[in-house]
Amino acid sequence: MKFPYTDIVLEHFRHPRNVGKIENPDGKATEGSPACGDMVSVYIKVDPKTNTIADVKFESYGCASNIATGSIITELAKGKTLDEAKNITWKEASDALGGLPKIKAHCSVLAVEGLRSAIQNYEERHGLVKEKVPTTVEIVRQRLRKVVNPLTGLNVVRTNLVQDIEVTDGVVTVLIDLPQDHQFANTIKDEVLEKIETLWDVKEVMVKFTE
């Protein structure tokens, strides 16, 4: 029988490494949501002396590629400096797994994003963010690239679901090209809020729909 996954993916899927929560983590993040069908949480402990990842664990609600990427990313990140870990790419994770099906990119990229966001969370909580850049339309757009359009599996910016972005005095307005009562409207709204609200100078986020 032929599975669409490599033996390494299947091995990690069946026996994922570093599964679970870390109590009182130094940094944590969750990417995705049950609505998209995939969700991953990443927890890290940082050794402040060396600025390296002392421990990392993950939890996954998702398909095989999501679980396997979560597993491999924790193996790749452990012992690395924060800067090194932040730069681990989806391609590196995929290569370490012997390759992933293209159609599963959106499920597996979540783990990579999860690790980066957990590190970012650590840096924000410990005042390590180097410079505070004022939020612009472009920064909002960049963050929205992490919100998946469940209709296609690609992000909402690339699939033109984001019709308009406005940033005025700390109030961010995002216009989504979907009817208000669409199957995915609330999910997308929640994810947009989650991604934008944490920006340091944003006071309010409004998500509007075209219909």
């Binding site: 049950p34 969700m39 949480s41 998702g62 398909c63």
Partner: protein, 394 residues
Amino acid sequence: MADKFIYLDNAATTRLDERVLEAMRPYFFDTYAVATSEFGYSQGIEARERLDEARGVLANALGAAPEEFIFTSGSTESSNIALKGVALALGKKKGKHIIVSKIEDFPVLHSAQALERQGFQVTYLDVDAEGFVDLNRLRDSITNETILVSIQHANQEIGTVQDIEAIGRICREKEVLFHADATHAFMRVPLDMKTIAVDLVTVSAHTIHGPKGIGGLCIRQGTQIAKWVDGGFQEFNLRAGLENIPAVVGFAKAVELVTLEETKRLQEMRDHLIDRMLTEIPHSILNGHRWKRLPQNANITFHYVEGESITLHLDMHGIAVSTGSACFSRSLEASHVILGIGGDHERAHGSIRFTFGRYNSLEDVDTAVQALAEIVKELRKISPLGKDKEKEEV
């Protein structure tokens, strides 16, 4: 890898019965001629006779007359003919309004949407938490412009069996045509057109261990319907295309092989699976009605875990099932049926459909339950969801 393959996806398609293949074989190699009129040559006349006999078997199974049954390439085509054929016949004459349920299978749903793009109005009826259409709401939705109500006999995913007798009465009283997609109910849930006021019925062979690529549409005499597939004069000039003699012979044989005892056996498997899963696997819920469901269908959501992971693990155990999870599908959209009964995305993504057939046994069910219990437990250990609810009742 497990040595035995346990196939529990019989709603997707079934294994062909050898006896069906044997019945079909002569019509590939010996009597392979096209069905001719009684004035043709002997091979063609014999083909015609087999076609007529098969038509008789199919019509009889639905309580109809032979001339009320046409063969098609399958239930997708049958439902397309039913909706588009009626729309073409009555759209200009009577009105442009059609009613379907929200949880119809794609042939009906997407035919309705195609008609909508051509200027028809379509009402998509809500269903309740178990998948039933509200009869009062159906009655209220019918207007003077309504030409057709299309509501399935039983649901493809959650197995809910609609009260088509009552639906038929309402349609008859309001003088609108009623089409029932019986793809999954055919030969498992009785449907007698002599007592049920249904005008068009879609059926298929591959769900009852018959060949793929053959189905039918039963059209009550006098029903106004236009020809949709143009070409020759086959099937009472209602559906053009070379008659598929081996397939129609196989279809009739498949119908003759279904017995009430067998259906009862499938129901035992269903009940055994539902009872064991719901008691032995915590945080699992049944989708659809406990009793008013297809005898061969069980559909269960395992909370906090995702369906594609479950199906992959089951596959490694040699067990085939399907899931309403988006990851399993080609569209990345969660099951419209689970969402239609008011379920959220998590309920859809964690839903697993088990459907039984002739070649399954109670032993298979036990193997599946045992495998599922282990898999769900392992996946929940990994899942970030539901950790705080472990001790609560769902």
